[in-house]
Symmetry: D3
Subunit: 281 residues, 6 copies
């Protein structure tokens, strides 16, 4: 759930892109008083996500439009399922349609992808699939929400939420120990200290200085196994770096705690959703 205040900012900006100059076609062809009903229909299997922002788009075009949600967020929808139903002035429905779908298709696309990744884990696995900060500029909060809808997890929200020490930070601090100690000394006590390591030697060093999460960056499969073995009980193991759907099962079996997948948000296909509009009266 996102506060309405925050949704409005996103929705208003998106509407401005499409409607700042009005809707030439609709104003010319549809009478002002005509009413209609629009049904958002899944044209392929998908995980439902974005009902709230979908509804808000119609509301911000015209508060007289009512939107009902036929399926709850996170539900698996079959092809042909009705997801949401909007009813109101025909003009308002047509004006809001594309913007509402642009949001919903992206969010449902992400939720669908997230569920696919989660589903690729071995049965009973405790491994988490999680997102990254590789989100679409301006849509981070919504995309992270979609990741959760699909059953995956969120990584830290932003650079100000938690510590993640990368190679440049290590170099700047003068080594793994210094980097971790400085971070521990300065960062909020609410944040765990995570560090990215590029070899088993670095991993060992990070664990010695008390890293709470170790991110194995582009490790070979065998090294991942060894990394998990070394780490067990001393920190969480996160695997990162170009992980594809095909490698999820293997990584899950290896017992890593977290697999972070940038593609969940940066390379996702929109879910196929259409709005079937029917005139009323």
């Amino acid at each position: 759930m996102l506060a309405d205040a925050l949704l409005d900012e996103l929705v208003d900006r998106a509407l401005a892109e499409d409607l700042a100059g009005g809707d030439l076609t609709t104003e010319a062809t549809v009478e002002a008083e005509a009413r209609a009903i629009g049904r958002a229909v899944a044209r392929s299997e998908l995980v439902v996500c974005g009902g709230e922002v979908f509804a808000r788009v119609f509301y911000r075009v015209d508060p007289g439009v009512r939107v009902e949600r036929a399926l709850p967020e996170g539900e698996n929808a079959e092809t042909g399922s009705v997801l949401w139903i909007a009813e109101g002035r025909a003009r308002s429905l047509l004006m809001a349609e594309r913007t509402a779908l642009n949001f919903a298709q992206r969010l449902s696309g992400i939720a669908t992808a997230a569920r696919r990744y989660v589903g690729a884990l071995p049965p009973g696995s405790k491994t988490r699939i999680c997102d990254t900060r590789k989100t679409t500029p301006g849509l981070r909060a919504l995309e992270r929400y979609a990741v959760r809808c699909g059953g995956a997890h969120n990584h830290r929200d932003s650079l100000g939420s938690a510590v993640l020490i990368k190679d440049n930070h290590i170099a700047a601090a003068g080594g793994i120990r210094a980097a971790i100690e400085r971070a521990r000394a300065r960062a909020p006590h609410s944040s765990r200290i995570e560090i990215e390591v590029s070899s088993l030697a670095e991993l060992e060093q990070a664990l010695e200085v008390g890293a709470e999460i170790v991110m194995l960056d582009n490790f070979a499969p065998a090294d991942v196994l060894e990394g998990v073995r070394l780490t067990r009980g001393r920190a969480l193991v996160e695997v990162s770096g170009g992980v594809t759907l095909e490698r999820i099962a293997e990584l899950g079996k290896a017992g890593v705690d977290v697999i972070s997948v940038g593609a969940l948000t940066h390379s996702v296909a929109a879910a196929d959703i259409a709005l079937d509009v029917e005139r009323l009266g």
Copy 2:
């Protein structure tokens, strides 16, 4: 080229997502005076796009960072090519990195996809590949720019730019003739009148009433050929509806004028670009 005023709005909002709470790790581990150079490197083949917004992100974090463009927009970059170079305070580089890449990876991803679609046309083809209004909310102007960088074309900018009559408009107006006449009577004379048709019969009717562009919506291949034959010289023929890369060659051969491809912006993979940061001094 986008006016700086418009870039800033997008960039500032994206920075707020990532940096509203500062950068815990960088502040803890990197000294305030340290300087660095960062090279944006293509990790796979791509079409360069987004240098301007990439630079603007660094500038809006810290106007002391200088960004140089090693490759021009629209260039094909090999794996390993340096695209852009940023130099300035190490802290500023690390704080801006992710946001700058999020923009650039998406735009280069779109440009790369656009070039792939254009490249699939038969040699010498006059057919246009063009985008749709299925853009990411908030990023329409940038994404349309990326489409052009890749050699494809833009469709109308928004609902207020040009007329495109769809089935609901036809129904509301009471038929194709009425819809086109009303649109002609009301819309700016700068806009062509486009209409979406779902059969050859509708196509014929639309042409009779003077449609300037006819959009063949989900036509079977044979019907596309027949549609092009019927239309030739009387209007532009646009083909739309779930067109994949595989069908481009055939549609190009059929002689359609425009192929609009929603996937160019709604289902695109980010280009793989990394920032290699090196400490100076």
Copy 3:
């Protein structure tokens, strides 16, 4: 009709100008619970325009105020006619009054002027009166709406909506042919290609290369006639450049397709509307 999302942005900004520091007088003299009714009355003949934004101003001050529209948009109102009626807390009415009227007077002023221009055309004329991009900064969408309310037409919405080649573009491209060809090659297929010409020779050249609209810039009356004759059937003829009300009839008779009038938005007198507030209870 403008989406509420877009109206709010304009209304909120205007309210901030007048009410950021509250309303000293009203807070001091009017009790918090007092209720009132306010009738917006035409003090001279006018074309009604702006009821939606008028209502929205009151709503954004206080959602408890109800606004009823006594006359529809585009109606000719006599002196003394009640246009809109607001009812609610007296304080809210007094606080919103000036801002609401500032919008409504400007929009009704434009609609009234537009109707006057349209009325100056010969009976049965097919000539369009249309606006230009010479709109008040920040109010373009509303002003274009007002132009339509008065029965005139809109020109292109913005630089991104359609092509209009002017002298500088011609010079930069290296001639009329090159300019038109480049524009045709790059611009969205939804846009017609319009070009401004300054002589009959240029006109002829533009028509040869396929200009779809020719704008005769500051042509002498005889040249307009000749221009229309030359062009007929090959393109639309637009006349532009300091056109006053007095010349409309003549231009209409000449058979030009479009007369664009900057004064419709840049030099218009506010319609005279007052709010008569009456205490309730």
Copy 4:
């Protein structure tokens, strides 16, 4: 002078109206590297106003454009005078041109009108011409500045700056005495108390209770004279209500202190300014 921070908000919004979708024509016809110089020229006599915002528009499109002011603010410019000169990328000049002129033409139009009103006062007159809150929504600060540029004065900035008691306030408070006393008791001591009166009887009453400014609303000429006589030395006399240029001399002679003229901002003709662009190199 307006703070850059405040100018940017207005300028960015205006640019968004015109350039959100880019500039189709300029991108198609003008090369990216071409440079040009643009001279803003008065096409009729005018009072120069708006150089700062004019320059800021170009800067916000492209910080590489340099703008020089050939004539200072408030100067009388002859037809043909060069006001301001912009130099930089040809594309940037063409993209910013219309928006920059829209601001400058409105501001110079207001300054020109203001000077005309001031010039209509009898020689040596101490009467002030001043504006009202009937400003264009969103442009109040700029328009008030233009009024000062033309030599006229500003009235209160907003409802929160100073007290002006009108008929509805009097009615709500239960009379002139109560209204003035309440206002005096609540309003900042920095504000004078002004009250609008509709008869000589009301005027007398207002003066007795210590009004510091009395606004004679729609008084007949003879009553204005009598009002000035009654008031002299006890308060300032302001005359308001549909005052036209023709009545200024008479009101000045009558010795009123202030004449407030809504038309200065709500019904003003844009000054005629053009940008002559010339290619460089």
Copy 5:
């Protein structure tokens, strides 16, 4: 009362600070359907202020939350008093709680301090306690409202509302006489002319040239008395400069008209208010 349009801007920004990334804890632990009631309770004596913005925070998180005000603005509340009651979804209440309290605690803190200062005046005193422009950036309108709630007065709203000549202005103008005359000649007639003086000699000079308000800046107690004596009847006397609660009684007895107190807004303790949330059903 502040217009909703203006409240929303403040509220939305504050919510963005706390909720841009959602509420991890509440989403994890509280069911979506759970409902609750929250009572805002005074934990120490305070003057009630901020009910409107408190309510608006909940509304902007979730329009389904209803907020009732148990005590009116400006009321003295005992420890333990219920001020406001919010009822709705438990999640929404918990998400809005901190932001709503942050506003309300600050405003009630200011109102409480203002009342304390006013209460320190001698009985029957006509002296005003008033605020300054030393307000929290972004919150001026709310803080000035809180000052009024506590029974104190506002000074001018901003640099654009009224004239206050300080030492630098005097120096720039070349003396007190020149400064006052220039201000009188330029500033709106709705503004009184106030001048800050640093000695009795300057005071005398200012009174001679017609200053309407004289601000005695850091005057010794004896000089304040003498200043009041000199001024009586010719201008208002304002005392300013590090005035503490302890000096109020003495200054009130001295008969100064206005005491301006920066600490009212720049150094105030938050009122202690808690939200007691109880699950429903």
Copy 6:
């Protein structure tokens, strides 16, 4: 360090409050060309904080003003020390002065208070003083920065950064165990799990289920000691709830890890800083 993009948003809004209507006094009394230098001077001992935003205010009024920092952030400044020096147009300095000081006085006030709290800890103490989410609406990022400048620490940035389970969450989840388990299952792995407990029994329970931080809410001194003893090595101990400066030493001696102090941001006195402006030339 805050990104310029984020500073501008705060600075522009604050300038709008004070300068939307211009600066009446300065425009009337100070010539446009006059130049001046302004020195920000500490009028009492303070910890320097806010130089960056101070400078940015001047820059956003007029980019021609240069600001130099005489003392670094976090430095202890004696009474009379010059902190920052601004040089440029006299008008710009006077227009920006109050807004720049309002930011700097608040931030230096917070930094000064933070240092006082930290200084109250026993020598060599490892206890952290940290802030809370009780920040001024709109200023959270700046205030948290000031807390760090004073040598104290930040708590979590927002509701989306880390988990902090309070009584209402425990009740909603059905107990401490359930609440912690749900949070662990849902929240980002980068966040530690903190829980607020109100008794030693609850503390024990929380530790058993693996809480990483326990917040002792309003514990009696003896219970704090016992809580620390029970917890040692199993979690971090945070003490919260109306902690005053007087209790810091005792809590530090008790060995608590973190003391969170709302007053650091919600009840702080502005540091006393003045701008001494001197005319140049």
